[in-house]
Amino acid sequence: MLDESDLAALWITLRLAGLTVVILLLLGTPLAWWLSKTQRRFKAVVEAVVALPLVLPPTVLGFYLLVALGPNGPVGGLMMTLGGEPLAFTFAGLVIGSVFYSLPFVVQPLQGAFAAIGRRPMEVAATLGASPLDRFFTVAVPLARPGFLTATVLGFAHTVGEFGVVLMIGGNIPGETQVLSIAIYDHVEALEYGHAHWLAGGLLLLFFLLLLAVYVLNRRFKVV
């Protein structure tokens, strides 16, 4: 069964994934909207940067984040001068890393969903007297609902599954920065296959149910 450190890892993982998704939806939605509308050449650069975590080895991303967040890095150094702690090996550091790592999984479905709406519904809303922000929330967001669902689930699941980045910038501090995927790795290393089975099997089931929910809901959205 699960012991106390397993439960702690589960809790940290869920908090990390939940927080990351919330932050990504807040930052990613305007970014995805801009990407879906803009005609500027600069767009390609932004798209490439957003997609980078898809292809970059997680250890590479983790390495640069470690350098940046550590006491001698720009971000960590700034935190120190402000009287705080460097962010490497902290939960906050994990959140920052996860936001970068899962960015494409949130931005790309949203961008696709926004682009699929086309110009017309927003123009109709404008001629019906809705201001740009009004029509964004009353037309674009509801019409992009499948995209939001996909983005949320993919962003959450991808954060839960991350390993390399977390290992690089979070270390493996039980109760603080030890997440599920690393706990499983530790159990396997220690030949505790029973523990590993419980955690791995639990995750497998959880993700299957999550994806099932996405597909069922997305089908319903289309019909409704």
């Binding site: 017309r120 109709v124 001629t127 019906l128 007297g129 809705a130 509801p142 409704v224």
Partner: protein, 357 residues
């Protein structure tokens, strides 16, 4: 001083330039007419503020919506826009669609009553339905009601019937006519279908390759022989008449217009009802005397105004019948025999009259 819609726009694209300038009265239906690709839709979008960058000037009934300094964004222009495709919001019910613009209007600014609009367009039974369950004609009626419910000071319609099949078209046309009769909202109606224009429009703006070739009252524009509208097999004149008398014995109705009276097969039209008649130029013949021994009932005096070449064999004659312009297409030979020239009095014989609507 008459209340007008004044529009001037200059839009330059790589392959197309719109340089349009027109003024029409701010009442009734003004058709923006022209071939596909002449810039009708772009012009309408510019009026709605949807086309940028558009240099222009737009003044609606005394209010400037756009000039060199001001650009009222689309959501601040009090207009309704009916697109070619109904473009209903798929995530809202019919009622939700209708209320979208309506509820964004302060109650004191609502001049079109909700129930009135719903009744006018016959969509009361559809309110709870979702857009994807509606027929094309039903969707377009909902879209028209949705636009009306913003109490627009100007209604823009971009070929609202073009995407519909013939049956849906005939289903919607009566609603558009009622709209015309019951609401005092000026309409700019983009179309490339001459029959729709003849039936609905009061004014016509003729657009050619991004420029306004001419504009004016529909009866005048259709019969101006210097314009392409007054040529070809479909050249026609439009006459506004009223139902004056019923002939019970022969089942006919007499319709009066300033130049005389028409007799048509009786339809159930109440006395005093205004009707619009269409006279195809090819159905109108001319003679110097009033013939008695003829089966043609519709004969009245007129004066020749202009003669224009149609083709080597035929001429188009524009006539004045009590101030109403009428077209007649005759052979060059007949014109010579009758010695037709401007100012000459003749008798007009009309073989067929079509009642529009």
């Amino acid at each position: 001083m008459t209340v007008t819609i004044e529009a001037r726009f200059l839009i330059k694209r790589d392959d197309f330039t719109l340089d349009a300038d027109f003024t029409v009265p701010a009442q009734g239906i003004s058709a923006i007419f022209g071939a596909s690709g002449c810039g009708k839709t772009t012009l309408l979008r510019a009026i709605a503020g949807l086309e940028q960058p558009a240099r222009g000037y737009l003044k609606i009934a005394g209010e400037v919506w756009q000039d060199g300094e001001r650009f009222l964004p689309p959501h601040q222009r009090p207009l309704g826009y009916v697109f070619q495709e109904a473009s209903l919001f798929p995530h809202l019910s019919v009622l939700g669609n209708l209320k979208y613009g309506y509820k964004r209007l302060p109650p004191e600014a609502r001049r079109v009553d909700f129930d009135q609009a719903v009744t006018l367009l016959g969509i009361a039974p559809l309110l709870a339905r979702r857009p994807e369950g509606l027929s094309g004609g039903e969707r377009q009626r909902v879209a028209i009601a949705r636009a009306l419910l913003t109490s627009p000071r100007l209604l823009l319609m971009d070929e609202p019937l073009a995407a519909l099949d013939r049956q849906s078209k005939t289903e919607i046309l009566p609603f558009l006519e009622r709209l015309h009769e019951e609401l005092s909202i000026p309409v700019l109606y983009v179309s490339h279908a001459p029959d729709e224009v003849a039936r609905l429009a009061d004014q016509l703006v003729l657009l050619e390759q991004g420029r306004v070739r001419a504009s004016g009252p529909i009866g005048e524009m259709l019969t101006r022989v210097d314009l392409p509208l007054a040529h070809g097999d479909e050249a026609e004149a439009i006459v506004e008449a009223t139902v004056a008398e019923h002939d019970e014995a022969f089942h006919l109705a007499h319709l009066e217009f300033p130049g005389g009276r028409f007799t048509v097969a009786r339809k159930d039209l109440p006395l005093g009802q205004p009707v619009r008649l269409r006279l195809l130029a090819r159905d109108v013949s001319l003679s110097l005397e009033r013939h008695e021994g003829t089966s043609i009932l519709n004969i009245f005096p007129a004066k020749v105004e202009t003669l224009a070449d149609e083709n080597p064999a035929q001429l188009m004659v524009r006539l004045d019948a009590g101030g109403v312009p009428i077209l007649s297409r005759i052979t060059r030979k007949s014109a010579t025999i009758l010695a037709l020239e401007p100012g000459k009095p003749v008798y007009v014989q009309v073989k067929t009259v079509a009642l529009l609507g």
